[in-house]
Each structure stands twice: as structure tokens, then as C-alpha cells.
């Protein structure tokens, strides 16, 4: 408790609190911009533009999450939507081509279905409780208890982390397993190329000027890499006190290596993070998480009951949360890096496959 009071900047107490009207105005404007973006996505034909606008859409919705007080969610949405999903979609476009070949099929029937469904949903909202009212039923079952007691019961200021990692630890375990399963699925569909340490140097492909790397970007990326990794560690271990935690930190780690791959190429990046190690780490994170549950069972508690991990229940909760967040971070980071490598391999192979018809030296 003392820790979080130190967090509040001292000079700010005199700042006016509760500018609710302005918050509302920001909210309304952002939502309108979101609608405009979506209509542009519906109308546009260039897939590349659609994916770029999807990036904007994600950034905007993350900003809306900030305006709706959900900072942890905003963090994750920015990381996952604007970051990873957009990058993966761009990589897919390299394989599939950038233009839609045909216009939409006749829009009338879909439009009819959509209008009917939308009208029914709007009719449904008329019975919904008013937005932002503290008396709404959604705020009065377990939520009350989480807000009132989690700071003393779990002992960490960020209630989202306590609920995520402790009260609803089962959910999060399931989710980590889903992420791991996605990796298994992606790797069974696409393969990751092994690094070519020797062939790359004497590669005598005709090097057009456009294929040269960007030296400025390489330098900037190199400056930023250590910074990003330190920031990832900060987010990982500061997640108890501020927005952050295992997912966000894992994605930031992945972003560091994605940046490296983009500027230096897949071979260098694969030499830095070997594929077998990534696979082991992805499984290792899940094992750390599940293992914490098993350890707490062996110590006489329930599965994922961290109270028994130390003599004092609160410090037991602390240990448990730090360990499972570490597991989550490791799994998410290694899964996302591997998935990205698989996508880039596919994108490059596709390009090479088209090209190598008239080139004598094969890639491997």
C-alpha cells in the first residue's frame, strides 16, 4: 500500500479532478473517428490501405480504452492490434497480393441482413442500463469485492493484475494454452527457415538498389533494441503496480525482435534467437504456469492457490503472481516471435519461388 502512495506524483494533487464533460467529449469524438475508419475499410479496394486503416482502428480503440479507464486493456490492444496483427496481415499480403481482384458481390442481401440485425440490437440496447452509472448491476456482484478487498487480500495495487493472475488464474492458464496451441497450429501449417550462415555472404543474386538495407534504420533499431528490452522487463515486473504484466511484456519483447528482423533480415535474427530455443521457451512458459499450480497443490492448497507458497498468504500471493506472469511473458514472447518468423519465411519464399525459376542457385 505504501508503494502505491509513493507512486502518486506529489505536485499533482492540486490539479482539478473530474472533468467528466471533457472526458465524454473526447470519448464521443474518438468513437466517431472509429466509425469513419470502419466505413473507409468497408469501401476501399486496396488491401494494403485496408490493413493500414486497421492499424489506425486498433490505435483508436486502444485510445478509447484509455478514455474508458481500462489502461491494461489499452496496453494489450495497442500491442496486439496495432502491433502484431497489423504486421502479420502485412506479411500475409506479400503472399496473397495487394489488390482485391473483383468488387464485392452484390451488396443488397448482406446489407439487408446487417440492417435487420443492427436494428434488433439497437432495440435491445433500449433496455440496457445507462452507461457509466455506478448503480448498474454489472458493478455489483464480484466486482465490489475485487475493488474493496483485493488490495489487502492480494497485496498489490493493480486490481486487474490481481483478478487476472490470482482470482481468475484458471482463465489465464487456459489462455496461455490457447496461445501455445496457436503456435502449434501455425508451425504445422508454415515452416520457419533455418539460418543460412554461409550461403548468405556469397549470394550472387542481382542486387537491385531497392533491395539494399536501410543503414539509418539499422542504426536506430540497434539503439532502440536494448531500450525496448529494458522497457519490456520494466513492464513485466512493474505490472503489479501500474498497467502492464506478462502479456504486454511478452509482446514488447516480440516487438524488439520483429524490429530487428525487419531491419537486419531473417537470417541475422534467427542466429540471435535460434528456433529450437524459442520452441522450448514457448512450452517452458506454460510449464512454469502449470507447475506453480501443481506446487501449490503439493503444499496442501488448491490448484493455483498461491496463499500456501509462503508462510504469509500475502507474500505467497506475491510470489505466485510474479512467477505465473513470468511464465505468461515467456510463452507470449516466444510464440509471437516464432509466428512472425514463420510468416516472414513464407513471404520470402513466395518471392524467391517466383524468382528462382530463372536463377540457377537455389536458396538451400
Amino acid at each position: 500500500m505504501l508503494l502505491c502512495e509513493q507512486q502518486t506524483p506529489r505536485g499533482l494533487n492540486q490539479l482539478p479532478r473530474k472533468k467528466t464533460e471533457m472526458e465524454l467529449a473526447v470519448n464521443i469524438t474518438l468513437l466517431l473517428m472509429l466509425c469513419a475508419t470502419v466505413f473507409a475499410v468497408v469501401k476501399l479496394q486496396s488491401l494494403f490501405a485496408i490493413v493500414m486503416l486497421f492499424g489506425i482502428y486498433s490505435l483508436l480503440s486502444a485510445m478509447i480504452f484509455v478514455a474508458l479507464d481500462a489502461v491494461d486493456v489499452a496496453f494489450t490492444e495497442a500491442a496486439v492490434g496495432a502491433g502484431i496483427s497489423t504486421v502479420l496481415m502485412l506479411a500475409t499480403l506479400v503472399t496473397t497480393g495487394r489488390w482485391k481482384k473483383k468488387p464485392e458481390r452484390s451488396g443488397l442481401l448482406p446489407l439487408f441482413v446487417v440492417t435487420i440485425t443492427g436494428a434488433a440490437l439497437v432495440w435491445g440496447t433500449l433496455d440496457m442500463p445507462e452507461y457509466g452509472n455506478p448503480a448498474n448491476p454489472a458493478h455489483h456482484h464480484v466486482a465490489d469485492r475485487y475493488i474493496a478487498e483485493s488490495p489487502t487480500e492480494i497485496g498489490i495495487p493493480n486490481m486487474v493484475t490481481s483478478v487476472l493472475a490470482s482470482y481468475r488464474g484458471f482463465d489465464t492458464l487456459g489462455e496461455v494454452i490457447v496461445v501455445f496451441t496457436a503456435l502449434v497450429g501455425v508451425l504445422s501449417l508454415l515452416q520457419v527457415r533455418r539460418p543460412r550462415t554461409f550461403a548468405r555472404k556469397q549470394d550472387n543474386r542481382p542486387d537491385t538498389h531497392r533491395r539494399r538495407p536501410y543503414p539509418v534504420l539499422q542504426v536506430v533499431a540497434l539503439i532502440m533494441m536494448p531500450f525496448i528490452i529494458v522497457f519490456a522487463l520494466y513492464v513485466q515486473f512493474h505490472g503489479d503496480f501500474g498497467p502492464g504484466g506478462g502479456f504486454q511484456a511478452g509482446v514488447i519483447f516480440a516487438v524488439a525482435f520483429i524490429l530487428y528482423t525487419l531491419t537486419y533480415g531473417l537470417d541475422d535474427s534467427l542466429a540471435l534467437t535460434p528456433l529450437p530455443a524459442l520452441k522450448i521457451l514457448a512450452a517452458g512458459g506454460v510449464i512454469i504456469y502449470g507447475g506453480t499450480g501443481v506446487v501449490s497443490m503439493l503444499l496442501g492448497g488448491n490448484f493455483l492457490d498461491y496463499n500456501v507458497l509462503a508462510a504469509n498468504p500475502v507474500s505467497g500471493q506475491h510470489i505466485g503472481i510474479i512467477v505465473i506472469e513470468l511464465g505468461v511473458g515467456i510463452t507470449v514472447a516466444s510464440v509471437l516471435i516464432t509466428v512472425f518468423y514463420a510468416f516472414v519465411t513464407r513471404a520470402e519464399r513466395n518471392r524467391a519461388g517466383e524468382k528462382q525459376v530463372d536463377l540457377p542457385n537455389k536458396a538451400d
Binding site: E23, L30, M63, A91, R210, V255
Partner: protein, 90 residues
């Protein structure tokens, strides 16, 4: 004061959004996305001050980062895409 700044940033974001829609070239869109991202970072900072709770600047740092990586990814992949498209046309 912060409210005015937030309003100005929202206006800037709207204008960048218009450029992202109009486009004509893909590079215009990427430029607009980049500008949009920068202004989102500033909006997060200003919004934190506006609501009196500016501790969430970690988010801003991260947005700046993700924005950069997004732009670089778009550029790198469009490079390959151009090559690919030329191949198809030939």
C-alpha cells in the same frame, strides 16, 4: 488548458485521418498513420494530465514504439510487394 490541448490534438488526428482515407498513394497513407500515431501518444499524455492521473505514460512510450515498428513493417513489406506485383504483371 489541457482540455484545449486535447481538443487541438483531436482535430489534428481527424485531419490525419482524412489524409489516410484519401490517400492517393500508399505512402500518403503510411505518412498519415505515422502522424496519427505520434498525435495519439501526445493525446495519451495530455489526457492523463486532464484527468489528473498522469502515471500511465508507459502507454505513451509503448504507442510510440509500436507506431514506429508498424511504419517500418509497412515499408519493408511494400517493398517486397512491389517486386511481387511486377513479377505477376510480367
Amino acid at each position: 488548458m489541457f482540455a484545449t490541448a486535447a481538443a487541438a490534438l483531436l482535430v489534428i488526428m481527424c485531419l490525419a485521418l482524412v489524409r489516410a482515407f484519401r490517400g492517393p498513394k500508399i505512402y500518403d497513407r503510411i505518412l498519415a498513420v505515422n502522424m496519427f500515431g505520434t498525435k495519439t501518444v501526445l493525446l495519451i499524455a495530455v489526457y492523463g494530465f486532464m484527468t489528473g492521473r498522469p502515471e500511465f505514460l508507459d502507454l505513451g512510450i509503448f504507442y510510440a514504439l509500436i507506431n514506429f515498428v508498424g511504419v517500418i513493417a509497412a515499408l519493408k513489406f511494400i517493398e517486397r510487394l512491389d517486386e511481387y506485383d511486377e513479377q505477376e504483371e510480367r
